[in-house]
């Protein structure tokens, strides 16, 4: 698989690592704008090809290689550039185009501009804090990239919530597992869910929003 990563900063570092892990025999090309970073990239990622380019020439490179690029990851330090390159790659017919955000507030702009796969590296901060502190009603544990849904943690605090959660699972036939108050992870029937449990449900986003509404949250 031929992957092109634009940018050589810390965002790109994780993208290159993941691409190498997925396809160790694949071809990874990293496009960077400064020669110092190119030297660093060559040392850090000897398996990747580091290409020095100007900001303006990236689009030309993508256009010339559009028949060959399988994945393009736009991971520069500038969201404006990331959006520009991602949009150009989509227009050029690159099958998988991923943009990594620097500023999480820019996510709606990317989505509005038609970039389907936007990675917000800061998204886990909220869910992690909620999980560690343990004070939440619904916590978004994981959001799927290709489906509008994910894995949601629901804290069963009282009998009303217990009733709502049980009826939600039965109605939507959602897969779930439970983390008990005594830190045991267990699969069980709906009837065995107890007050104090945290129920991890996988379902569509709109379904969990509906549940939240019914729970008055």
């Amino acid at each position: 698989m031929r992957s092109v990563v634009v940018g050589g900063g810390h965002l790109a570092y994780f993208a290159i690592k993941a691409l190498e892990e997925m396809d160790p025999r694949g071809r990874i090309i990293v496009i960077e704008f400064t020669s110092e970073k190119i030297d660093m990239l060559k040392k850090t990622f000897p398996f990747a090809e580091a290409v020095l380019s100007s900001i303006e020439d990236v689009e030309d490179y993508v256009s010339r290689n559009r028949f060959l690029i399988d994945v393009l990851v736009s991971a520069t330090d500038s969201d404006a550039l990331n959006l520009r390159y991602a949009k150009h790659a989509i227009k050029s017919g690159v099958p998988i185009v991923i943009a990594i955000l620097n500023n999480p507030l820019n996510e709606p702009i990317f989505v509005k501009e038609g970039v389907k796969y936007v990675i917000n590296p800061y998204k886990t901060i909220t869910s992690k804090i909620k999980e560690v502190v343990g004070k939440f009603r619904v916590n978004v544990v994981y959001e799927f990239s290709k489906v509008d849904g994910g894995i949601y943690a629901l804290k069963v605090e009282n009998s009303k919530t217990l009733r709502k959660v049980k009826s939600f699972i039965l109605k939507n036939d959602s897969p779930f597992f439970v983390l008990s108050a005594d830190k045991r992870i267990r699969t069980c029937s709906v009837e065995d869910i107890q007050i104090g449990d945290v129920v991890y449900i996988s379902c569509h986003d709109r379904e969990v929003r509906g549940l939240l509404k019914r729970m008055g949250g």
Binding site: R2, F67, I90, I96
Partner: protein
């Protein structure tokens, strides 16, 4: 007095047209800004024309004649621009139903390709061979669309035909050449079968790619790799 009322009706039509236009822009922008602004413009001008017709009727011009003329113009417009309207209807369907997005690989009728852009009149695709295909939006109302997931790798089945090469040697050469193109593939390439027919060795291959436009390039690389090893092959 009649002139004042006529002017008032036109003014009101302009006012409500622009208000309704803004309302449409606000509420339908989620389906795309250009789409919403186009719809807002259509509604706005429709109301203005309506206001003008009302103004004429206030000025005592024969309403029946005016209505007849309006209907006539409307029918002529509808007939002459039926394809354009049909394409707009197609756009509404694509924006609301969203059967695919930009970047998806789709099949419609005998055409297939990756969606580059969804426009008001057409959808632009890039075929596996790299050709730009423009599909009028009305096609999406008439034919079923198959949305082959944008990121699903597809399998290319190839047959490499050798003359005067024994199967073992053919396998070795094909494997060596496949190793050279492996970095461009999604998975390890597979030799499905090797057979001999009429003195020719046929090697069936399965290659997995994400970017279907790469197919022609891969075939070229494969035949070049084998040519560099001293054999000429046919690839189907």
């Amino acid at each position: 007095m009649r002139v004042v009322l006529a002017v008032l009706s036109i003014a009101l039509a302009i006012f409500f047209g622009s208000k309704l236009g803004n309302l449409i822009m606000r509420n339908l922008s989620k389906f795309g800004r250009s789409f919403a602004s186009k719809l807002a413009e259509i509604v706005k001008y429709f109301l203005i024309i309506l206001g003008v017709v009302v103004a004429f009727s206030i000025l005592s011009l024969d309403v029946i004649v005016l209505t007849g003329v309006s209907i006539g113009i409307f029918i002529v417009l509808l007939v002459s621009l039926r394809d354009v309207f049909s394409n707009y209807a197609g756009e509404i369907y694509l924006r609301v139903r969203r059967p695919f997005d930009e970047g998806d690989f789709i099949k419609i009728g005998r055409i297939s390709g990756r969606v580059v852009s969804i426009n008001s009149q057409d959808v632009e695709l890039v075929s596996v061979k790299g050709e730009r295909i423009v599909v009028p939006n009305q096609f999406f109302l008439k034919y079923p669309v198959v949305n082959v997931s944008s990121t699903t790798p597809s399998s290319i089945e190839l047959k490499v035909i050798f003359k005067d090469v024994v199967p073992e040697e053919a396998r070795k050469m094909v494997m060596e050449t496949l190793n050279e193109i492996r970095p461009e593939l999604f998975e390890e390439p597979k030799i499905v079968s090797i057979s001999t027919k009429n003195g020719k060795t046929e090697v069936d291959l399965s290659l997995s790619v994400v970017n279907q436009q790469k197919t022609r390039w891969l075939i070229g690389r494969l035949s070049k790799g084998l040519y560099d090893r001293g054999v000429e092959v046919e690839i189907e």
